[in-house]
């Protein structure tokens, strides 16, 4: 639940500047990467940076979800649900 809320907060923050057609929707099946994704790379970078930032503020923890490896996986299908799982795994470590 905590991770979900953090992602929601990050989405609200980045949606603030995005035009209507490009807004990120909080829905577990929403595609972030992969063929079905409509997000451009800047939005993805911005979203992940904001999630890292929200985790730092709310959980007082530092995790890295955005690095060079991440960009190599951009062709894989990756949804909000996958993101929640990934963050939870990182937080447990």
């Amino acid at each position: 639940m905590i991770t979900e809320n953090i992602i929601k907060k990050a989405i609200v923050k980045i949606n603030d500047q995005l035009p209507k057609s490009k807004k990120v929707i909080y829905k577990s099946s929403f595609p972030i990467f992969g063929k079905k994704s409509k997000l451009d790379s800047l939005t993805i970078v911005n979203l992940f940076v904001e999630i890292e930032n929200q985790i730092k503020i709310n959980l007082k923890k530092k995790i890295t979800i955005l690095n060079d490896d991440f960009f190599n996986k951009m062709n894989d299908n990756f949804t909000i649900l996958d993101l929640i799982k990934k963050i939870n795994t990182k937080l447990k470590k």
């Binding site: 500047q17 790379s41 911005n46 890292e52």
Partner: protein, 553 residues
Amino acid sequence: MNKIKILSNFNSEIFSNYLNQKLNNREHKITKTVFGSFYQQSFKLIRSKEKIGTIIVWNQIEKILVNFDKLIYNKKFNYNELLKENNDYIKILKQLSKKCNQLIVFGWQKPNLYQGKSIKDFTDKLGVLKNVTKLNLQISDSIQDIENIYFFPPELYFNNATEEYSPKLWYAAKIPYSQNTFKSASEKINELFNNLKSKKVKLIILDLDNTLWGGEVGDIGWQKVKIGGHSIEGEAYVDFQRIIKGLKDTGIQLAICSKNDEKIALDAITKNKNMVLKKSDFVLWKINWEDKAKNIREIIKKLNFTNESVLFIDDNVNERDRVKTAISGIKVPDWPSDPTEYPSEILKLNCFETYKKITKEDKKRLGYYKDDLKRKKTKSDFVSELNWLKNLKTNILCKKITKENEDRIVQLINRTNQMNLRTRRYNQEKLQDIQKDKKSFLRCFHLKDKFGDMGIVGFFNLTKHKNKLIIDDFILSCRAFGRGVEKTMLHIISNYAVQKKIKLAEFNFKKTDKNKPCLTFLKENLKELKKNRFIIKDMKKSFKPNYLKLIKE
């Protein structure tokens, strides 16, 4: 549609998104250039013939000035070279300003990563903040005379930028600032556009009791009204009056509309020593018990203002509602009930051209209006308008454009709407460029009569082509309509054509929402070849009216 182009050395996507959100999409179209190519894109724009509505320049200092990059890394660098580099940047800004209506320049910001010389950063010669400030001042000093450049120092839009700086966003996407910074910068630009667009206030009409002072003078007498002294409200009224007086000194006119006994009310203004505003600061007053809307209509008519350029301030909500409903277009702001809020309230209104350069004419404007009221008062004493015009003993001075009158000419170019042939707006630099062109012929016109000096009221600029003269600007202040200046301007143009043995002088009228009076004048005095294209039919005809004296400098 205002075309906006963003020139930046960083990724301006988020900034452009916010800008799109803040500005009205129907009025503005934003395009951004490839980031990291500021110089290439600038030179491309400077060389192109395309005219852009607005150019926004926002760069990081360390990416543009090589010597600043050396400074932050403690490398050996040449201080004079740094200033020279900044100066070269300024030259580009100046050239860009000629390619657009507005150039918005974001000042240098302290680079996020470099904290400089810590607690000595502002005193050390190599301090980062010290040099950022110095270089920003160098830019602001160099562009202060260019009307269409708007310089935004970081203090105006930076909110805890260092705190919110994300190194990852920079390394991953070349975005150096936080969303909040871009949001705040976009809001400032939106404010600027709103300010440029809104009809500016030229006349403030003020109520008296509980507006200019506390209490009702009719009941308590001029000695006891709250103004100045050791009083919370009294001090606020003084500050409010000081702000109003400051606005008056920029050329805005003041009038009074108050339900009072005239003598008692004027006693408070003349006898109470704490009054900042004096009787002489007001061009006109209507102090009586009649309907305020009626009084205000009369004031506006006498002074020849449009409703949109008038601001009415009154503490009484019923009076405000009455005026707002009866006079369309007039600005009647909601007014706080607490006088301590008056000073900040008037500053919030954002409807004054306080950013414009104040010219000699602005300072004398109150006198011009007072003279004009006297002039108009005498008109009814004459049987015909011609007799009245003769009696005014008008002198028109035809002058060259000099350093002394350049500011006023630029003001006429950028403010005049009604008697304006093509409504071309441009700045001092462009005016100077036109003057340097040997094919150009420019003159301005100064009007004086027995009631006073009206200052420079008219201006034209023409270009000499092989067989004809093309009139590029033909501008006359509305204060001087119908006084013969416009015909005298034609007289000078036709004389010049004869002198240069040119048989054709062409006026290509460009219609706007407001310049119909100019079209009417052209139709009445020139020959219309085809729609909106006029020529002087007979060059030897004297256009100058006999009732005035022309003095050429």
